[in-house]
């Protein structure tokens, strides 16, 4: 155990985490050069494209240190986005130390700060390292001062690295060996293993990545997942080098995988504890919680013929993603589909993209909405995931909306803009602290305002410099109303949104204008109305098309004409027929584009 180091890397997107991890693997001979596909750790295509890590991964490396001993370095990768803060905390809980990687040409970002605080809370040792020192714009002194001020850890002697050129990589490995503590724990105590991640493999079922805290885990042993209280016999254990490599046993202090015939990922949730069925631990490891989705959207197949395959795809996706939920929903406008729950907007985008890409489905997604706590006159409280489920106003007493605690880090020159934005988004300022050039702002904001376009706005008012992290804190009462959209006087359920009453008027008007722009002219006039209850607050009309007929057509070449019509038809296929009106998919997301300025 003396020769094991378990650690994570905390870094903002693009600050070079994956490149550095690749260097470690190369340095320790984990893979031959030809096996090093671009970046090994981000194994999903989507991750590679977006430069972020969605699933946690791990790699066990053998490092021969300068002291002559060989150490087992277990790097536990963490998801790199605000939507996945719980997963990050579980990855960190499996470590004794964390490397804080900061781009020496840029500086500290809010998300890294938040993750550092989590690591500090969990008692981890943090080693700051400045990456990209080969860049001419690198400014190590400024950035280390910023680390000290913003995060409050000693950064007077940071490691200087260029993951790109390889400079300083060995120093980092040495620091990992000498500055991080070895794990503690007892081989003889009853088994306690923290589930850091789990995913579904088509051949072996669920694979869980664990950190063994106490005891040992080996094939044939019976283990129990403590929160779900389900027991399984272990088939295989092993480590990732990064290739999956079977071992005889995983012992206290080690990180590795366990395969034990689990078919359903929900019984081996991130944060849960495995223990021995015959000699169980008295208590599970601390910190387990059920992750609850925060953002909901209706997702419908464009063609109703795809419903079955859509349902299968959701089930498969769920095998790998226990944070994602879905339940059947039917919409008058969009037919049969599912109301899906996501951790946040990025999570939603990822799921949607995977469904379209990996399963070849054509989907319509409605505007995302948050969970509302609804108090009715009969004293009952319920939680609704869909604006359409809002009870009629006569039964409605109060609507409460989820509020988040948002931490924003921004250079001082943009702080005014950011505050203006937060106030526009109905935020309440909680604190404002100067750290040199950086300002740390804490706001309470309604989640619904953040869900729509907050990220983009924040980036634009700060020229991309502001960074953001949040957690959901509580529900608060607010004067909310449901805004409906009527197309040719028919309410389109999938277009309803819940908005603040002060903003409803403007919102409705803007939405009606946007819809007019989006709905193409067709053979009939299309009346678009925005209404609250029975009161119409805005109206626009998409005027009827004058004609749609090819001017000249003489026998001859019909194939060209046909291709043109096919193209037009294909465009319409992606539209949804509501009554006689064809509505393009963008219309269902128009709410997102309503500019509340």
């Amino acid at each position: 155990m003396e020769r094991i180091r378990n650690f994570s890397i905390i870094a903002h997107i693009d600050h070079g985490k994956s490149t550095l991890a690749d260097r470690f693997i190369q340095y320790c001979g984990g893979l031959a050069d030809r096996e090093m596909s671009e970046q090994v750790l981000d194994s999903m295509d989507l991750e590679r494209e977006r430069g972020i890590t969605i699933k946690a991964q791990s790699v066990s490396l053998k490092y021969k240190a300068k002291d002559g001993y060989t150490y087992q370095l277990n790097l536990i990768d963490t998801p790199g986005h605000v939507d996945f803060s719980y997963e990050v905390s579980r990855s960190l809980a499996a470590c004794e130390g964390a490397l804080l990687i900061v781009d020496a040409s840029q500086g500290v970002e809010a998300q890294s700060v938040a993750n550092c605080y989590t690591a500090i809370d969990l008692g981890l040792e943090i080693i700051p390292a400045l990456n990209k020192i080969d860049l001419p714009s690198a400014d190590p002194d400024r950035v280390s001062a910023e680390i000290e001020e913003v995060i409050g850890i000693d950064a007077s002697d940071p490691l200087l690295v260029s993951a790109k050129t390889g400079e300083g990589v060995e120093d980092v490995l040495e620091a990992i060996v000498h500055r991080f503590l070895p794990p503690t724990g007892s081989f003889d105590a009853p088994l306690k293993a923290l589930i850091v991640d789990s995913w579904f493999d088509n051949y072996v079922g669920v694979i869980t990545l664990v950190r063994v805290i106490d005891g040992v885990i080996k094939p044939k042993q019976k283990i129990t997942a403590m929160s779900s209280d389900r027991s399984y016999q272990v088939d295989k254990v092993g480590v990732f080098t990064p290739k999956r490599t079977e071992t005889e046993v995983l012992t206290a202090g080690q990180v590795g995988y366990v395969i034990c015939g689990i078919k359903d990922i929900t019984v081996a949730k991130v944060g849960d504890t495995y223990t021995s069925t015959s000699h169980p631990a008295e208590q599970a490891l601390e910190g387990f919680k059920e992750v609850q989705p925060n953002v909901f959207a209706g997702v419908f197949p464009v063609s109703s013929d795809d419903y079955e395959s859509f349902r299968d795809a959701l089930a498969k996706l769920r095998l790998n993603d226990s944070a994602f939920t879905y339940e059947p929903e039917s919409s008058d406008a969009l037919g049969f589909g599912f109301r899906c729950g996501f951790l946040g907007m990025l999570h939603m985008e990822i799921v949607q993209e995977r469904l379209e890409r990996e399963y070849g489905l054509d989907l319509i997604t409605t505007a995302p909405t948050v969970v509302h706590e609804v108090h009715t006159t009969d004293g009952k409280v319920s939680y609704i995931h869909n604006p359409s489920d809002l009870p009629s106003s006569s039964h409605l007493k109060e609507i409460h909306e989820p509020i988040i605690h948002a931490s924003i880090l921004v250079p001082h020159e943009y702080v005014g803009n950011v505050i203006t934005l937060c106030i526009e988004k109905r935020g309440t300022q909680k604190s404002l602290t100067y750290h040199g050039n950086q300002v740390s702002l804490v706001f309470e904001l309604p989640l619904s305002e953040v869900v729509l376009d907050f990220f983009d706005k924040l980036k634009s008012v700060s020229r991309g410099y502001a960074s953001f992290d949040y957690y959901q804190s509580h529900f608060a009462v607010a004067p909310l109303v449901r805004l409906d959209v009527l197309i040719n006087t028919e309410r389109v359920d999938a277009l309803s949104v819940i908005v603040h009453s002060d903003k409803a008027q403007f919102y409705g008007r803007d939405l009606a204008v946007k819809m007019k722009e989006i709905i193409p002219r067709q053979m009939y006039d299309v009346a678009i109305q925005a209404a609250i209850g029975s009161k119409v607050i805005a109206r626009t009309t998409t005027k009827a098309l004058r004609k749609n007929v090819t001017a000249k057509c003489y026998g001859g070449d019909i194939t060209r004409k046909k291709k043109l019509l096919e193209k037009q038809k294909a465009g319409k296929k992606r539209m949804k027929q509501i009554g006689k009106v064809e509505i393009p998919q963008e219309a269902f997301l128009a709410v997102l584009r309503v500019d509340k300025k």
């Binding site: 001017a551 001859g556 019509l565």
Partner: protein, 384 residues
Amino acid sequence: MLEVPLSLYVHIPWCIKKCPYCDFNSHELRSPLPEDQYIDALIADLQQQANIVSGREIVSIFFGGGTPSLFSAKNIQRLLISIEAHLSLASDAEITIEANPGTFDQQNFAGFRNAGVNRISIGVQSFSNDQLKELGRIHDAQTAIDAITAAKSAGFENINIDLMYALPKQTTQQAADDVEQAIKLDPTHISYYQLTIEPNTRFYQHPPNLPNSESSWDMQQHGVALLAQHGFQQYEVSAYAKNEFTCIHNTNYWQFGDYLGIGAGAHQKLSHVTSGEILRSDKPKHPQQYMQQALKQEPLATPRVLQQDDLVFEFLLNALRLKQGFNRQQFEQRTGLMYELLTTQLQHLCEEGLLLVETDRVQFSENGYRFLDELLQRVLPESA
């Protein structure tokens, strides 16, 4: 015995200058016109196919292009003689030639007429010099007027004027002026069609500033009214004729009749005499390649059999362009399919008020006529 009417189309693929809106198979003349050689090739093409249509009467011939009037009357005559030798031409066959006012020649017009051509279609497009320039035409308004006068002096009684509207920066008044000018010249037929931007044209790459859909709609409404006032009845989307001078050749296309097509890139559609299958084919597009192959007696095209779905679609695409639509007998004879099969398919369009579907006839409702392409998209067969 099949009674589907048969026409003959002859393609002449050269122009002095390619117009920026034109997506037809036409090539700018960069070397002397290989007139004799091309006529030889057309005759060879004809000979290849004569036996497929033997015994069937040709109701019309159309020399299209390109600019057929670039060819000498002598050569057109040579071809017509050969056509008569290989095919049976109806005594009252309509024989049309397209002419560009920019290249007209009184003598040649008379020569065409003497050779047996009895209809001339003059590509005027506009009587505004500014517009003509914008459209890249090589003639001006006066030349256009002169060409029509010349056609009349040459003995043509059946004259069509091609006129476009919704031209770059055109006003409704200007469009109406063009129509009035055309009417004044007293042709028998006017093709009044909207300028549209097609892929693979210069306008597609550099779009001109066109009137919006409201103005072009006004132009059309206005034009239709003016034409009607002067006895030009609309019988197809863009075709207007005086006193039964409807174009037999084009009407045959629209009624899904058969046609042979000879010349570079020419398309043809023929019903198989015994099987009733409909076969489409097209000739090599490039003039040089076409001539080489034709003169070497190589086969020029491989026919494709139309599938049932396509058949219905293509029939409607053509037949519904006609104001009067089509009747049961036409549909069944031209497609070999049952009329009821079609009417069931069209029922929902009927309910929407686009179409009038009767026991014996299908035609557009007054409102539906404007939306042919919408309708066609709905009956378009699912592509693979």
